[in-house]
């Protein structure tokens, strides 16, 4: 018998970032990651949860900060989320697109 997972469609902006980060679910993250060619592992989820925690704390994120998280170094972060790791991981974590402040 086939199991059909009913994933609700969540509201995103034109770039695919979640409009409300509280809407986020693990399944949504898995689907978005798959759409970007990434199969999420435990390590991915550790990073994602850390990003969400920082969002809760109101901390502005940079790649360097993720590299100081104790979870991954910058090189590993690039391996987990190839291309633009902070933009991609933020999208999968359901938090807003990182903004540069200068």
């Amino acid at each position: 018998m086939e199991t059909i997972v009913n994933v609700p469609v969540l509201a995103t902006n034109e770039e695919g970032y979640l409009k409300n980060y509280k809407d986020w679910t693990e399944q949504w993250a898995i689907d978005v990651a798959a759409g970007n060619g990434i199969q999420l592992t435990d390590k991915h989820f550790q990073v994602i949860r850390w990003l969400r925690q920082k969002q809760d704390e109101g901390v502005a994120l940079t790649i360097r900060k993720v590299g100081h998280s104790g979870i991954v170094d910058i090189k590993q972060f690039y391996q987990l989320f190839p291309g633009g790791p902070l933009k991609l991981s933020s999208k999968i974590a359901g938090i807003p697109k990182p903004v540069s402040c200068i």
């Binding site: 940079t62 090189k75 402040c101 200068i102």
Partner: protein, 424 residues
Amino acid sequence: MAINQENMKDLLILGGGTAGTMMANKLRKALHAEDWVITVVDKDPLHYYQPGFLFIPFGIYQPEDVIRRKIEFMGEGIDLLIRDVSEIKPEENKVLLKDGGELPYDILIIATGSQVVPEETEGLKDALWYKDIFDFYTYEGSTELAKKLKTWNGGKLVINLSESIIKCPVAPLEFCFLADAYFSERGIRDKVEISYVTPLSGAFTKPKATRMLSSLLGEKNIKVIPDFYVYKVDNDRKVLVSYDEREVPFDLLVTIPVNKGSDVIGNSGMGDEDGLNFVPTDKFTLQSKKAQNIFVLGDATNVPTSKAGSVAHFEAEILTENILSFIKGLPLEARFDGHSNCFIETGFGKAVLIDFNYNTEPLKGTFPFPVVGPLGLLKESRANHWGKLAFRWVYWHLLLTGKKIPVSTKMSMAGKETGEEVAV
């Protein structure tokens, strides 16, 4: 140092650069000499006009144009102490000096600025340092680069930002524009390939300014390589290598190394969690998040705006008000809006002026500038170039000494063309 009377209070300022000097002069005028001792501590007796470093490599400024003695800018009743600070002890309200002494304070202002740290990137300060790799954010780097450029006959010139949080974020772009003009004037522009390699996704961060600057870069045949986060420099092969293993070859590398706050901040455990030693600071009141009697301004803060002299100037106005409120036990009501204002030198005697804050990106329009008249915003003009050069006089004679400059502390929308894309 003045002998402290028992009933006198200590206001201690760490750093006698642009921000620290302005604060000392403003507060000295505002606080009674019989109530408050104001002391500025800095390890270097010399004051550098840092915006001038950009012009030294191209021979536009000579080294002597940018150096004065710090003491010249300290008003009467300010003690300047040339000593090296090792640590801040917020719980004990004192600062430790490297030679073993200590300085107590009632109020501490941190104005320790930022510094370039090439050691943060593997291979940057190595065999090719000051041979084929140069910075221009230091006096030494800019003067060494001036010598190099005089005799360099072309090849791949790469300008690379190691990090996205840097002092004067437009200076690397200005360097590209001035290099284009410099090699054109030397008649070898066709032998120089200029690339701007940045960890950002475009030439700048704010959309409208990025569009304007990208089109200027295109016109001047300067190639932008975005999203390139440098991991190391291979000195043997002369290539930059990114974290995702892309490579950019160079013949001459002009680097903007990782910028960090002072080591004192790191030693005191007072830095932000990215390890860059910038001090967590309330972005509106400029009070430190660590202690109520510690305030921070200039490059030393982690507030989300540019690290630049204009920002330090606007912050100094706000912080003066807030410190006076703090002394009286009143709430800190003056709010810094992130106001930043800078001239972007674009070469061939022209410049662009941009004006923005936390919420409003740089827009087109005109900027009401006293005496010179309105200056064009977000577009090239000769008047802006003269504004930029005139600023050095304003800096030495008005800004540092805390005199009022007729430019509004809060960003004004007057003269700006808002369009529909303005962030609110």
